[in-house]
Assembly symmetry: C2
Homo-oligomer: 454 residues x 2
């Protein structure tokens, strides 16, 4: 009895001391990253020197070699590449579209969707069927034949977390072409997945259903969306011409680039941290996902610089081909299964380099109890939002294979869809402190997971 | 007994229903502002059409007239101006500085501090004493005579809330000139209050102690700070020339611009919402404090558009002359006392137009208990940080006079000191959703204070 009383007496002190140690450790990571972080400099190299780096492009190869070199220089215990087949889509030319009114031809700012087939040099010229959503198209399917379907779909501005709007509307970009082709449409124009105040179109992944003709598909900037809508309101029989040149070439070879810091106690158990190295071809991929790459590399650097010795082996992964194939993430999980690796946790950063607001987490009740006890440790660094069931595209296959706890960094989302997949996703739109503060929170989270499990 | 049991039984349901109503009301404000907000458009007019609007400038007058017109158009019950004397400082010319090495003259990017006296056309040329802080200057005071003191003071990068770094270091900008003049210095160069990655100098308020000579004072961009530091390390006897032309002219007339929505129950009790209309002369004053003005106007618009009838009379105030005199805020409080007005609460937005993170609040224990019960209502809109003892410069005189509860909106602070008082504080650096989301949270806070008191 006496023993129990003593334990009950000292337990709060142990917990308090623990929290104090953890708080000091996290402050240590924070000071290192905010004072000496190189993530921003690396992001500059990746975005300005290499630039857009779609799977299969020469820049993809350059980026892989660059990442390998940075990881070596940052002092990783090992660095290696995982080869994987990646799709090789090329844009093939300058995407164009024109509204043909009776008196003039009005150019529209458009971008072909990634993976879409081009119209070729003769283009596609047809009348336009404007619809708000799939339901309207289904109802008016008889009208679609021989026309260009214009998805003037909503991108809800009232959601505070903008990824919700993206989740609601991205189906028109991903599946809109085949949905329209099923009814005989000859092309589609999709509202950009954005609420930006500029006129940049936003490209992104699309996929064809092999049962229907593979018709051209473009995204349109929001100002020209209004131009098109207004002209259609005046004359529903006007024609639009689309010129795109997209082509899917045979698969080629890409690589995940992987570094490790070996664990001190559970060497054969892996914690994975990563982002994706590829980007769309039309921009520098600064927020998407240069930021995640820079943060992943910065964690490696900071951990080594601080001589931090994790219990588990930590893998830092620059994933290949997230944008138009997810082949890197799938190959990483396939190899993990094949090699009978033991994975315990994975963290991804692929939602931009803006100020961190929290994490989206997939874990069980016990895990959530731990998260609750960590909240006060993360709040001083800006992470106060803890969402459920998030993980991220590249670590999702690992979750499917192992059902481990996973998480994704949640940066502030207000600006993200202004620049996502548009020409404006460039280095200048990333802020150094915001980027590095994301890395601080990732380091803190990894430190806690390594120490206490999740 | 039965009665008490019944009350205890139904109380949670009453509270839950209340919360549900409040939650719905706030969602109503949010949708109105995010879908139909005009704050961003008004900010564009104020910053691009009018521009920098320092007290005493023609743009100050234009801005007052513009604000009056917008308030009228937004449907305020009354709009009026409060005249006040404002200081009239003019920059007078292009601020310049040069490092004079043996082989060349290196230009430095500098800006005279606001309210400082110019060197005149002959400039000030002298050797330089570089110090880290006042303590070092005090220790080396014998060396200061006849020299330009260079405050290479710290701007702590490890603080997560960047206003802490500002609070720690701004004394060198505000009081550095007289502190150096006391020891016979002939000019001062102050590190810009920033951690930006560019080279823009950041101006801002300074004040002279009348007991000492009023020597020229400039802020220096961070890249040129390194140039100066490195050259001094090579040759401590090198000279620097400063050329500034600042001049304080006689006081002139400015105005607070005030609109009201009359209260339905406590008509003679005032809730004040405001920002400041003036800005520095070298930029558009977009974040500082065009954002606060746009949000204040947007609240007025949204409240009228939604036909919201507050219990108290709400005052929307565009304060005059915050930057180099705080005369508007002082006059507002003076008139409130003179007119025996009853004030119950004031809210200011003057920390930038970035994503809202919370509020800094001055209230008592009862007030904090209310704040605690409101946290779950504000969290969905991004406000999760509730700091103590904040109010804001323009409503501080009202606090001094009435000791009422006050608050200030706390936007994300990571980018703020990159642009604060520099040429880069322009419209393009404000994001529409972030600005409007700040207004959403201000509207929610005002709604709760009007309904429940604080």
């Amino acid at each position: 009895m006496k023993k129990i009383v003593s334990l009950l007496f000292i337990l709060p002190f142990i917990v308090a001391a623990q929290t104090e140690n953890d708080s000091a450790a996290i402050k240590h990571f924070s000071n290192e990253i905010l004072l000496h972080g190189k993530g921003y400099e690396w992001l500059s190299q990746l975005t300005r020197n290499i630039g857009g780096r779609l799977a299969g492009s020469p820049q993809m190869v350059q980026a892989e070699q660059w990442g390998f070199g940075v990881m070596k220089a940052a002092g990783a215990d090992t660095v290696f590449m995982q080869e994987c087949k990646v799709p090789h889509w090329v844009r093939g030319g300058k995407d164009e579209a024109f509204v043909l009114t009776e008196i003039k031809s009005i150019p529209l700012n458009v971008l072909a969707l990634g993976n879409s087939n081009g119209s070729g040099e003769n283009g596609v010229t047809a009348k336009v069927l404007e619809v708000k959503n799939f339901e309207e198209l289904d109802m008016r399917k008889e009208e679609a034949k021989g026309k260009i379907v214009f998805y003037n779909c909503d991108f809800d501005e009232t959601n505070i977390f903008t990824f919700e709007s993206y989740g609601q509307s991205v189906k028109y970009r991903g599946g809109g072409a085949s949905h329209a082709a099923r009814y005989g449409a000859v092309g589609v124009i999709v509202r950009s997945m954005s609420h930006a105040t500029d006129n940049n179109p936003h490209t992104g992944w699309m996929g064809y259903n092999d049962s229907f003709p593979k018709i051209p598909a473009v995204a349109i900037g929001l100002k020209d969306l209004t131009v098109l809508h207004d002209n259609l309101a005046k004359n529903k029989d006007l024609q639009v011409s689309l010129f795109t040149y997209g082509k899917m070439l045979p698969d080629t070879i890409g690589h995940n680039v992987v570094a490790e810091i070996k664990g001190t106690q559970n060497k054969e158990e892996y914690i994975t941290i990563g982002g994706h190295l590829d980007s769309w071809d039309v921009n520098e991929g600064a927020h998407d996902d240069g930021a995640g790459i820079a943060q992943t590399l910065e964690l490696l650097r900071a951990f080594k610089a601080l001589n931090y010795h994790p219990k588990h082996t930590i893998r830092f992964v620059l994933f290949a081909n997230e944008e138009n194939g997810t082949r890197g993430g799938k190959e990483y999980a396939r190899l993990a299964v094949e090699n009978k690796e033991k994975h315990v946790f994975a963290l991804e950063s692929d939602a931009g380099g803006f100020t961190p607001r929290g994490f989206s987490i997939t874990t069980d009740a016990l895990g959530w109890a731990k998260i609750d006890s960590w909240k006060k440790l993360l709040a001083p660094y800006g992470c106060t939002d803890f969402l459920h069931d998030g993980r991220g595209t590249d670590i999702n296959p690992l979750y499917t294979a192992f059902k481990i706890s996973e998480a994704e960094l949640i940066p502030d989302s207000q600006r993200y869809f202004d620049i996502h997949h548009a020409v404006s996703d460039v280095f200048e739109n990333v802020n150094k402190r915001e980027l590095h503060l994301g890395a601080v929170n990732m380091a803190a989270f990894i430190y806690l997971v390594d120490k206490y499990g999740l």
